[in-house]
Symmetry: C2
Subunit: 436 residues, 2 copies
């Protein structure tokens, strides 16, 4: 049974707080193993990568076969069914079109003091994308990570994915090609992260590493952060669906389950103004849980972390959604826009009954890499900006320095930073000399 809450309950606040606080993070003890792998790759380079890959993926690599050749990639891609290739192309085109609008603008202006100010955005030089192997090998994630990097203008994009027993998902390679990835390495786990962060004889290091991974990959990313940039360490996925009573229970049930089927630790929450509709959805979920393929995972998620919350009105629903700050938020009401305008904490919103969250996972256009575990309060989904950095620009003229330099000197003195003040003073002194 999922949690059943109603804002009419006397103890609603406490129940809701418990739902928010219930931790769903895994806490695997992998730090020591990861530290060892990182140190080994740092010390022995390619040889360490080859050893670790033999151990974990049961394949024998050489420096020459760490990366796929173009021919190998093309041969794999040739195996992708036409319908899947077409669908992936449509997704890539739509994701690119959306992200192209995110390119930031440079700025340059002269202010009233005569100072020339501004900033300039630049793409990062090199980015590495981690792609898990096995059942978590999602071609859609390749597109969502690599296309924004390409749109940003990143010069060198590499990908790394484990190939256990030599097997790779051809769709992942097609996605890499569509997204403009330059090189694909047959490396997984902490050793792949180490290679990207430190570099080896055959793997050039990158400036930032993004993409999902298991506990080892997450721990390795945390460790190398600072030396390279990383994206967020994603927690389990979550969805909130706000639905009034005029929805199809089965559609909403499927939307909830499409979150629950990701992971037993995923969380799906329905907030509804109609208690009878809530019951109908609970029934529909139970029905669907009898047949869908991933019913064990989805069932565990729904049972342990699912919730149905009844509220008096949509205003109340908005307040709760903001407190949950979900990764995904569906607004299944006739007029979603005014409701959306009152909700501030959500990674992605899906407006109206014709927008199941799954559209956003694949072909909608917005990114599906989104803030989890309530972090939408203070962070955003992946975007083009995550692959760029900004340099601020300032240029003083003698006149501008005369106008604002003395204030800088005063503040430097108040902070006891004498050389700061003198660096301004020395220049002002020259300006105040009589002309020769």
């Amino acid at each position: 049974m999922p949690h059943i809450l109603s804002t009419s309950q006397d103890d609603f606040e406490a129940r809701f707080a418990a739902l928010l606080e219930s931790t769903r993070e895994e806490d695997a003890d992998v730090e020591a193993a990861v530290d060892e792998i990182l140190a080994d790759v740092r010390a022995r380079g390619d040889a360490a990568l080859i050893d670790a890959t033999r151990r974990h993926d049961r394949i024998e690599l050489t420096a020459a076969t760490l990366a796929f050749t173009t021919e190998e990639i093309e041969a794999e891609i040739a195996r992708v069914p036409v319908a899947e290739a077409d669908a992936l192309r449509l997704a890539a085109d739509r994701i690119r079109a959306y992200h192209l609008r995110q390119l930031p603008e440079d700025a340059n202006w002269t202010d009233e003091a005569g100072a020339r100010l501004g900033w300039r955005w630049n793409a990062m030089g090199a980015v590495g994308l981690y792609v898990p192997g096995g059942t978590a090998s999602y071609p859609s994630s390749v597109l969502m990570n690599a296309i924004p990097a390409g749109v940003a203008g990143v010069e060198r994009m590499v990908m790394t994915t484990p190939t256990p027993d030599g097997k790779v998902n051809p769709l992942v390679l097609l996605a890499a090609k569509l997204a403009g990835v330059d090189t694909v390495y047959r490396l997984g786990g902490a050793q792949a992260i180490a290679a990207l962060a430190y570099g080896t004889e055959s793997v050039a290091r990158v400036d930032k590493i993004t993409g999902p991974g298991n506990a080892y990959v997450a721990a390795a990313k945390r460790r190398v952060f600072g030396r390279v940039g990383i994206d967020m360490i994603a927690g389990p996925s979550e969805i909130v669906v706000i639905a009034d009573g005029s929805n199809e229970p089965d559609w909403i049930a499927l939307d909830l389950l499409s979150q629950a089927e990701h992971d037993a630790k995923a969380q799906a929450i329905l907030i509804t103004t109609d208690p009878l509709f809530g019951e109908a959805v609970a029934d529909a979920v139970a029905d669907r849980l009898r047949t869908i393929e991933r019913r064990e995972i989805a069932g565990a998620s729904w049972r342990d972390h699912g919730a149905i919350i009844t509220v008096h009105d949509l205003g109340e629903a908005a307040v709760l959604a903001d407190q949950i700050a979900p990764e995904h938020l569906e607004l299944c009401v006739d007029e979603p826009e005014p409701l959306a305008a009152n909700i501030f904490n959500a990674g992605a919103m899906f407006l109206g009954k014709w927008t199941p969250e799954a559209i956003g996972d694949y072909v909608g256009g917005p990114n599906h890499v989104l803030p989890t575990s309530r972090s939408a309060r203070f962070s955003s989904g992946l975007s083009v900006l995550d692959f760029m950095k900004r340099t601020t620009l300032a240029k003083m003229t003698p006149g501008a320095l005369k106008a604002i330099g003395p204030a800088a000197e005063t503040l430097a003195r108040s902070e006891s930073l004498e050389a700061h003040g003198l660096s301004v003073r020395a220049r002002l002194a020259r300006l105040n000399e009589p002309a020769p």
Copy 2:
């Protein structure tokens, strides 16, 4: 003696790599102590804050005196000399004017499939700013952290600063007032971070914590990251000055020293096309090191981490600067713009001989919270965006779902996520029913 390098040296590559790799991070063993403080504040709230503050700052607080009253703040501010207040006001105005230009725009459009797409930026709800006490209590940092948050539209801005023996820097309180900070707490160290992250009876928790601090504060911020957002954990400061031979050696020496005087672990590097000029700067630094107040700190920084690198031309200088990826970069040449256009990794650039870096620390306008330790390769200085988050928006019409839904279904199937596909299929089935 600083490191003396020249691109003409046979072993230049190795020397330069050693300079880049030389670690300047402190590695204090504070984790256990910080964990204890965090747990105590989480468990005991205000009582833990009061105990920790008695221990560390030798003052006896109550729930009622955790925060300054408006009257207490005004009384402190009244002690600020007029010249300093005026300088701080000029700085605040200029910083605000610069950051107002960073406000991002929302977007909304309908694409060719009929899908309505876009995104919306929102300010974070509440932000906490940490301000160190004692000699590292910099009013300029208050402005640089709080003004962007205010420009972003953050509703509740609080500040926390230790008041050892009851003492506070009045300029810090004035800066807080100018920047629109709502509440100032008399709390420092890990206990302050804990209060902001978890909340107590008297301190409401925030969504993000920014601002510099000692090793305890940095460790506490790392620990609470995820529960709240944090800014970057800053490493020691650094500057690269690229100067041709037509500069005043003393000015450049002071610019280098204004970095070195921050911290014995700060790094100041001169890159010059003129070896004789390099020697003149070395002499000027030695001269100034005889008299400036913070000569011990600045001298240690210059001796251990300083460097003078001679290059053949400015093109070579640009390549090296990009590899260093400095926090601050001065371009002391007659035509700084074309040189700037060839450098991509720098937190902030200061163009031309009339723009000492110290201008950027106080009154230039751009933020002085910048990426350190070569992280300008993948990150940017603090900005208005760091206090906002973006929600992506997608709305399908029946027609849009018909156009792109089948591709989503195909991809869901290829990823073995059946409920994802069914959530689309169920809706498409309705659209394909004959009209009643």
